[in-house]
């Protein structure tokens, strides 16, 4: 069985100097900012507020709802199922379609008050090794309990969408090791609806259940 090396990541946030005051400007920005910016705005909340599930899962939805007061549009943007996408460009396109539809149907667009503009950010990821290595499922379970939530985040979220791997790192490794069902059950999780600690618990319980089924 191939070893699983746990990595972790640290993020550097960049300011793009671009702002949006209304939906039209938001759309223009979403169309042209780098994909790292779309990724940042759809994943920032997960990392910064790790101890509760945020009401608005992405910055676009938060701003549209809170600063423009457009609750229906905000909810539509919030409901975009990120799990469905394995490419940021497709995710970007999903936002573009919703915003274009809204603009077509809305004769007059409202603007936010000054100082509440949407500010486009982006991020760079620095990947670091950790001391944790698993050679079998028992060790994998043990490591899952000890790694930081940043490491968990890296292997589950970054791997798939940012590093464009076919699946999250855990499922890829488990599948290669022959644990097909376990790989599938981790793959099937809607990871965006958990807090990171909640997600850790869920994966641990799946691995635990799998191991006990053989005892």
């Amino acid at each position: 069985m191939e070893k699983f090396y746990f990595y972790t990541k640290i993020t550097q946030v960049e300011l793009l100097g671009r702002i949006a005051r209304n939906v039209k400007e938001l759309l223009e920005g979403i169309k042209i900012v780098p994909s790292a910016s779309i990724y940042h705005h759809t994943h920032r909340f997960l990392q910064q507020h790790q101890y509760f599930s945020p009401e608005h899962p992405n910055d676009f939805s938060y701003w549209i709802t809170m600063n423009l007061g457009l609750k229906k549009l905000g909810e539509k943007i919030a409901a975009v199922d990120i799990m469905k996408f394995s490419d940021i460009e497709d995710l970007r396109h999903a936002f573009v379609l919703i915003l274009e539809d809204f603009i077509k149907e809305t004769p007059r667009l409202r603007s936010c008050i000054p100082t509440e503009e949407f500010r486009f950010l982006s991020s760079r990821m620095f990947v670091l090794p950790t001391p944790f290595v698993a050679r079998n499922l028992e060790e994998f379970l043990d490591c899952l309990k000890k790694i930081t939530i940043h490491s968990l985040y890296f292997h589950v979220f970054e791997a798939r969408l940012r590093l464009k791997k076919p699946d999250n790192d855990f499922s890829c490794w488990l599948r290669n090791a022959g644990y097909i069902d376990l790989a599938k059950s981790i793959s099937r999780l809607d990871v965006y609806t958990y807090t990171l600690e909640g997600l850790r618990k869920k994966i641990i319980s799946l691995v635990n259940d799998y191991l006990s089924s053989f005892k």
């Binding site: 300011l15 910064q48 101890y51 990947v127």
Partner: protein, 416 residues
Amino acid sequence: MKSKENIGSIHKTIDAYRPIVGDEAIDELHIIAKKLKGKSIQNINSTSFGGGVAEILSRVVPLMQDLGLEIWWDVIKADARFFEISKRIHNALHGVDISLSHQDLKYFIEINYSNTQNIKRWADIVFVHDPQPIALIKKKRKLKNKWAWRCHVDFSFPKASVWRFLKRFIEKYDVSVFSAPSFSHRLKVRQVLIWPSIDPLSDKNRELPREFIDNILERFRINKEKPIITQISRFDYLKDPFGVIRAYKLVKKYVDCQLVLAGGGAGDDPEGKKVLEKVKKEAAQDRDIFVLHLSPNSHLEINALQRASTVILQKSLREGFGLTVAEALWKEKPVIASSVGGIPLQIVHKYSGILTYTTEGTAYWIKQLIHEPEYAKWLGKRGRLHVKNNFLITRHIQDYLLLFLSLYNPGDVVYL
């Protein structure tokens, strides 16, 4: 009795932060710092004491040295005229309508250029802080090293002429750093966001013995049995002390509580003195309002007052980053603050604190939090976690290390 002299001090090495942020965070700092081995780093600013920049450098530089980095801190030499001009530049960046003559700007550049001669040792990475030494960038062409410029001030609404003047220097740097998204502008140079931070081991934030806190309350004749509402800030109109008093009076109709308004800033500031006098006058009729004008080094007193508080306010009308909010959250206190400047970055409404827009709203939430201590406690706990994850000095150091590494590692994903 625990007095200020005998509560001891903590020797600060990077490892002293392990119990607070965890081994992983410190181990990661060591891993990143190793990647900078062989690169020297030089900080340059305009003063070695007083002000936020000197305060943060005096903490960050020794800790980075402790991580094994070759890092030092230089201060430019300048005269009173230069500082008078740079003060006006500073005010213009805050949107104040001031004039700067061609001669002023010429002198500002001349002093910078003379400092390029005075500084004898240059590092691989030159990290310049704030506008005063910004024109040192002239030296880059000769040295062919990496240069970063860190803006610590609120850059949201700068005067156009001063912005144009500074922009031509900023764009010569390899990277610029701002403290909040609202401070950024369209620039040809890469812009990185690095939030300021608090030091959990500083006198202002460290844990204090209960006895010491009680002693401070006793000294100021504050009743520890009655709810205490506190705002720590300079006596400044922009911190809205009168709005705080109005909110307290609305609460006082229903809840027997006390108000503490504590801070400095009235010493050599004529406006501060005026505000302090007015606040004292406003508070004179109420024995439950404590207006405490403290000396600038009253960190332990401020710490104790925050820890003794039931609710902490930051009802500013305008704010830079507003780190007093992070300081209060770190002490697990429920905080009610205005949604201005960097405060919304520190408080997520109803999750890690309360954001308000009006005096009435502030009063409403003070009552709620006094009447619902469990919810207040819940908010405080989440606030502390948010600060732990985002606003501690160790995160600040990590961001600086990444900043330096990013000068040599382009690309969205960097494997260390």
